[in-house]
Amino acid sequence: MQPQGAAPQKLALPNIKYLVAVASGKGGVGKSTVSANLALALHMQGHQVGLMDADIYGPSIPTMLGVTNVDPAAGDFPIKRHGIKMMSMGFVLGGDKAAILRGPMVQRYLVAFLTQIEWGQLDYLLLDMPPGTGDAQLALAQTAPVTAALVVTTPQDVSLSVARRGIQMFRQVNVPVLGIVENMSYFIGDDGKRSHLFGQGGGQKLAAEAQVPFLGELPIDARVSECGDAGEPVVKKYPESPVAQAYMALAKSVDTTLKGMQPAKELPGLTL
């Protein structure tokens, strides 16, 4: 797959009802895990869902959703697995090849993923964003009709401080912030007690400070990474687990909040 032509100025994606960026600013907070499990949870609640891996340099979605033997030459995209449609640079490159690309090419690939892939009618297209506030975020803010950004953090101050920058970036480019989800919030021991291994309350505090909804806490569970590595997200493999239930609750919160949100206004144009 090769990006075609010059990048368009602004895309219209009428077949996609909600285009949601799952972002943070911070790396390692679980954006891809949240994206994969949220996508499946939304699907399990009856929505038509797509998942686009916007991390061109470090695509995780192929591994997390068990799609690792795609023939790039066949070009049969989007890949359909677990009831959702997905696209990733990992499918284009194959194997463990590195994407050695500068910013403008990152933009071209992201626009190509949005426009050259037959997504069909979707209620949700989730964008699994890379860490940072740079090329990928700017490319999508400039060209894609992003409905809102879901910001992922963990409880620690070091994550919160970077997540704040991510929120600030979305504000500056006029992408509404849907809310905050706190990953790795607590661990449930065998006795049923919760231990807050990485601190407590950070996500709620950030949400209050940024004046956005706090959409939920996701517990630490060893099965999350086991499932991520095995390619079958925890919401599907262990649906009765507390973490899967938390993802189902998150999916409901996301859907309810989006339905209640005023859509962002597009800027007026002028023909000279």
Partner: protein, 112 residues
Amino acid sequence: MSASGATAPVPLRLSKDGPDRLVIEWDDGHRSLYEWQHLRANCPCAGCREEREQPPDPFRILKPNELAPLKPAHIEPVGRYAYRIGWSDGHDSGIFTLEFLRALCQCANCHK
């Protein structure tokens, strides 16, 4: 608590005031006025910024597309946060954020 978007002013309408000026009406009631030449003179692209930092070269040979009077060719939104202006000489790399556009306003109130 609702999902919060931007709180900075956003344009409601763009229009022309004759051939030489751009008008932007904002949702906070402000009406901005710009000479097109003023916008080009303040193009925020890296190339123009670098050029403005250099002393003018009196021996610079003008390119053919610089010989005709400079006019705006097109203006379009960039996402929901900026505008890109394309010019008759082909230059179009400047992205004017809404914040920057407000700062460049030449209306009588802003120019007091």
